[in-house]
Symmetry: C2
Subunit: 253 residues, 2 copies
């Protein structure tokens, strides 16, 4: 998207067509043409090319296109680094470069959350985020996301844990979680740390289980409420893409 300088248009278009298949299993020529905004002829030729190389195949019944066996062949060669900490890194870097703020990835471990991956903003004033850091589940945007999307039973266990502060009003808290689920993301301002705000969104696996929280954090001065609201869709989008990268339905840890 940035440096269009040294790219090959025809190849880009072919890849765009392939990417349609992350959204829907089957596409007809016309559907793809509409969705991508390309000319029918162009799409046709690219489809012939993709089919010829085995990246797509036609469903004989519906006449529509589906992904072909080459994708299997390729994905088989990926199966090593299933580790989200490695797997998600490029996507996190992308997000960091887009928003210019520190990006962290958290998972829940009992009554704590752990930062399993992070990429820091390039700005001189920035959120520093050491990997491996552990924080209580009671505060922070990521914590709220991790709790909000935890399965109900787990949520009950968490809320009834002896370590859970009595000072937190359970009813108000539940309302907050509901609100987070409604919006799809959580924010926090100087909740865990003075001067720091954060926006966090859930990463789901294919079964819809939360496997991690993706957070963007920075100084309150820069990460204002408007800013966070504006960032939220981008973070949610990145988190969704990350979720799609996870094989099977395995939850993390």
């Amino acid at each position: 998207m940035e440096d269009k300088k040294f790219t090959v248009r025809a190849a880009e278009r072919a890849l765009d067509i392939l990417l349609c298949f992350t959204e829907k299993r089957e596409w007809s020529l016309t559907e793809i043409a509409q969705h991508t905004g390309l000319n029918k002829s162009t799409v046709y030729r690219l489809l012939v090319t993709l089919e010829g190389k085995g990246f797509l195949r036609r469903n004989p019944e519906t006449e529509k296109y589906r992904l072909g066996f080459r994708i299997w062949e390729l994905s088989a060669n990926l199966s090593q680094s299933d580790d989200p900490a490695v797997l998600f890194l490029p996507e996190m870097e992308r997000l960091r470069d887009e928003l210019e703020e520190t990006v962290s990835l958290y998972i829940r471990d009992g009554m704590e959350r752990v930062r399993i991956q992070a990429v820091e903003s390039h700005q001189t004033i920035r959120r520093v985020a050491p990997i491996g850091d552990r924080m209580p589940l009671t505060v922070g945007a990521s914590s709220k996301v991790l709790v909000a999307y935890a399965p109900p039973e787990t949520q009950e266990i968490i809320l009834n844990d002896p370590s859970w502060p009595e000072t937190i009003d359970r009813e108000r808290y539940r309302k907050q979680l509901e609100e987070i689920r409604r919006r799809g993301y959580a924010t926090s301002m100087e909740e865990r740390e003075a001067g720091a705000s954060a926006v966090a969104a859930p990463v789901f696996n294919r079964l819809g289980e939360i496997i991690a929280a993706l957070a963007v954090s920075g100084p309150v001065g820069r990460l204002t409420e408007e800013k966070m609201e504006a960032f939220a869709p981008r973070i949610i989008e990145a988190a969704q893409r990350m979720g799609k990268m996870v094989k099977g339905g395995a939850a993390v840890r």
Copy 2:
């Protein structure tokens, strides 16, 4: 390869580059250029394109290219039909159309082999191959392949099974198996059925275990010894491609 008429060259080249990654995990620009025979500049631009779209990513340490997260996203949308009988069908059809003879897929079940998938030649005189058929492991090209590549212990059990004919000279038979492993395929002429010949090659999973035998069979008149020798490389190639499509290292049945 056949109808080059309506394909887009630039897209084809991009896909060729992607396909390199079925053979090796990491490639440098120069390696790809040599392997594909394309100009370095061309490869460079296509790599930039592929990386920009997330189909490739660079290993920061080695500076080389690897497959990117988009492949995950796509393969996630495939994860239904893991069944080789379904999975291999397109490849088998391809082979059938290329050789114009009946193609069968066998797995070993104890002392028998079972045809779990088949596509028949279009010719009027052809090998008819009902799916589900069971045959003894003692005769036929596919049987020999299934035995030749079975793990040593399994092989011993098979050869010592009471159902194994005493008339077969163990020493000669072992020599035959060795020869098959050396060549990578097996043939048979009127061994199991009068008038029928067959060529078979092994399908391995990623761990190198045999999971099936891919066989091409037809009338001895058409499937002469020369013909079978000529077909063998194509069958082996198809079997290899099929093997690469299998997720994980799981053996079939």
